[in-house]
């Protein structure tokens, strides 16, 4: 092995790291380490000048190993690997030490934080010395795309991709397309008919020569990797057919919150307490009536049902406020004399045109009342005192400070959004992660909000977090452009950090074969050794841990690399090294 010539770069991340970690001290200290040729600190290593610094040093000082000590490798490892490539160095001769997420942001004592950061940097230096160059591997991309979910996001994705001449498989678990929007009457704030937007799209998708739609179909397990996925479909639980595709869009949407768990609202007990979904259906039918068939005289619209309350869902469902305003407008048009009450925690009419929509709505003789969304929900109670109303809403009105009783004969609950019941099954099938609320996690919340940590799998629409039509469609188009980009390239780079067998050391015990979750290892009886199929191997390294002779090596996570890292992480006194 050539003598390592290591360049070390400690990032300030503005004040994010530098405030809690003495970056200059660490950069000075590690200069003393063997094989460290250059050691610098810089304000933003990920910036262009920061990367240029590395590239320049590699060329001028003949560096062959690089350590960047900055944020999480999950954020910028690829950025720096590219910089190495630009300097003509193999991108795997690089290691990152995470001194932001794991040090400066979580510790409060500067001395302790600096000491810990130093040990992480030393560990990275010791590890990188044993890094090997790895050759990139490319695989061809199957131009077909699998889309899971036939709501507005899934339909948009299907059409966008199919229009470019590529095959699309669209899977929907229900027996019709359109998702939650299929129940919605008008869109806000423009008050246009949803079905005029949705129905032609559904029609087009069903008849498109490049789109194959599977209704009543759920997905069990997806095999393969980016560019070459495969799944067996089950339509009504009978095995249907095997599909092959290169990319996956998960567009499984959301499920409306079930308000019957909130005792204050008596949903399910009082017949004229209905959800926003039920009211949309009423609007679509054109007839607004109470259960007794009467025109309602006083209507309450309650916001944040199930949302923004730690007892139920902590998050904001994003579409309810404007939906409530939309309902108020539609009710005012249909029932000019009715009393309309909007009961809200906070009015969040965000987005283009929505604040204006709020102002316009408030001029239409609609009563707005505020309540404490977290601690004091209004209570809906039955009333038998008067024929004109059968319910009373008791509210502690926050702005006036008064306790008010509002007589109503219809209450609309603006139910929030929650993840689908089968969110976990889908996550398992395609290999993506979920947050605590069972929404899918994007690769990077800001810089890569449509991709996931599994290459070739994209998340769009409300399965990633509650959102309206505009955001869902934008996100979908972003994912589509990413997919079309990879299809246009024809091939995609795949991980090369697979396992490899040293046949001279392998004793043929086949322990590795028994632990491999991907049946990626087979036995060669002629030579009495195990053989790794690199296409099937995903590089988990379980075989490496089980091998009694150390014959199987997990590339980029070798014993030597990790053991050196442990040595480095524990070497606290530099003099000892």
């Amino acid at each position: 092995m050539e003598e390592p010539r290591i360049g070390v770069y400690i990032c300030w991340c503005g004040t994010n790291i530098a405030k809690m970690v003495d970056v200059e001290y660490i950069a000075e200290e590690v200069k003393k380490l063997q094989n460290v040729v250059v050691s610098r600190n810089y304000k933003y290593m990920c910036s262009d000048p920061g990367q240029d610094l590395i590239i320049k040093d590699i060329k001028e000082n003949n560096l062959n190993r690089i350590v960047v000590s900055a944020c999480s490798p999950r954020i910028h490892e690829l950025t720096f690997r590219k910089a190495l490539e630009n300097a003509g160095l193999n991108s795997y001769l690089f290691e990152m030490a995470n001194i932001r997420e794991h040090v400066s942001w979580v510790h409060t004592d500067r001395k302790e934080a600096t000491e810990k950061a130093k040990s992480l940097v030393i560990a990275a230096i010791k590890r990188v010395a044993f890094h090997d160059s790895l050759e990139k591997r490319y695989v061809d991309i199957n131009p077909a795309t699998l889309i899971i979910g036939g709501g507005i996001a899934g339909l948009t994705a299907a059409l966008e991709i199919a229009e470019t001449g590529k095959q699309v498989y669209l899977i929907e678990k229900k027996n019709s397309l359109g998702g939650n929007l299929a129940f919605v009457d008008l869109s806000y704030p423009d008050m246009n008919s949803i079905s005029q937007v949705l129905d032609p799209r559904i029609e087009k998708v069903i008849n498109h020569p490049n789109i194959k739609v599977f209704l009543n179909t759920e997905i069990n397990e997806v095999f393969g990797y980016v560019g070459n996925f495969e799944t067996k479909l089950f339509e009504n639980t009978k095995a249907e057919e095997i599909l092959k595709f290169g990319n996956i869009i998960v567009a499984t949407g959301l499920k409306p919150f079930d308000p019957s768990v909130i005792p204050e609202y008596s949903y399910g007990k009082l017949p004229d307490v209905i959800t926003s979904i039920e009211f949309e259906k009423m609007l679509k039918s054109g007839i607004i009536r109470t259960k007794d068939g009467k025109k309602p005289k006083n209507i309450g619209i309650i916001h944040c049902v199930g949302s923004r309350n730690n007892k139920y869902k902590e998050y904001c469902s994003r579409t309810c406020c404007s939906t409530g305003l939309k309902f108020a407008n539609q009710l005012r048009d249909a029932l000019p004399d009715a009393g309309i009450y909007e009961l809200y925690g906070d009015m969040r009419a965000f987005g283009k045109g929505c604040e204006e929509f709020y102002t316009q709505t408030s001029r239409k003789d609609i009563v707005f009342m505020m309540f404490d969304q977290r601690n004091d929900l209004p209570k809906i109670k039955a009333s038998t005192h008067n024929r004109d109303f059968n319910m009373i809403i008791e509210i502690n009105e926050k702005l006036s400070g008064e306790e008010l009783n509002i007589p109503v004969d219809m209450v609309i609950l603006l139910v929030g959004a929650q993840a689908q019941d089968n969110a976990k099954d889908i996550a398992h099938a395609v290999g993506i992660s979920m947050c605590g609320n069972a929404f899918y996690i994007e690769r990077h919340p800001k810089l890569d909000p449509v991709a996931t940590t599994t290459d070739g799998v994209y998340i769009v629409g409300s399965c990633q977090g509650p959102k309206g039509i505009i955001d869902s469609v934008s996100q979908t188009r972003a994912a589509v452009s990413r997919i079309l980009g990879t299809i246009a390239q024809g091939s995609v780079q795949v991980e090369v950090t697979t396992a490899v067998v040293n046949e001279d050391v392998c004793c043929g015990c086949q322990t590795c074969i028994s632990v491999c979750p991907y049946t990626a290892i087979s036995f060669d009886p002629e030579n009495n050794v195990s053989v790794v199929n690199e296409v099937l191997c995903k590089g988990c390294g379980t075989c490496g841990s089980a091998c009694p002779t150390g014959a199987i090596k997990s590339r980029h996570f070798t014993d030597l690399q990790i053991l050196s890292q442990i040595e480095g992480i524990m070497s606290l006194e530099l003099e000892e090294i």
Partner: protein
């Protein structure tokens, strides 16, 4: 050098490392005793890594993987669990308190749980006091190398 215990932690890339990152992005505060090493899967954590950490002076070792059923590689965490159970018994025989080794499941969304776990582990190990494995072995090897007149450590390194 501070007297604070040192804990080496092996986190799987997909769930636990991301969870630890989340603790960072959420600015949760926890004890600085934990030093994290990333592996792709908890199934990659060889018993050797754990023993090496104790050998190098760690007072505790924390392994974190995805929750059962959530492993990115289907079942690597189960492999890890099996090895862990055996390893617990083994280190006890070696005179290392088994509480110094811990395996927990941390998902990508459990930043808070990770921060709490880090504090808990630091507390446990602090109460146990220094593990002293390194000092014992260093002394043993020093005596041995003086006796044999050769550098055993060097030979060991070459063997790796």
């Amino acid at each position: 050098m501070s007297n604070e215990p040192k804990i080496v932690s092996f986190l799987c890339n997909w769930c636990s490392y991301t969870g630890a990152d989340l603790a960072g992005t959420s600015r949760m505060k926890y004890a600085s005793n934990i030093r994290i090493i990333r592996v792709m899967c908890s199934g990659r954590v060889e018993p050797t890594f754990v023993l090496k950490a104790f050998r190098e002076g760690a007072d505790g070792v924390l392994i974190c993987g995805c929750h059962p059923g959530d492993c990115h590689y289907h079942e690597g965490n189960y492999k890890c669990l099996r090895r862990y159970k055996l390893l617990k018994k083994y280190i006890k025989q070696m005179g290392i308190d088994e509480k110094r080794l811990r395996l927990e499941w941390i998902s990508a969304s459990e930043g808070k749980q990770f921060a709490e776990l880090a504090n808990e582990m630091a507390e446990t190990v602090r109460n146990l006091g220094p593990a002293n494995i390194k000092d014992k072995l260093d002394l043993f090897e020093k005596t041995k190398s003086v006796n044999e007149g050769e550098n055993v450590e060097k030979e060991k390194m070459e063997a790796i």
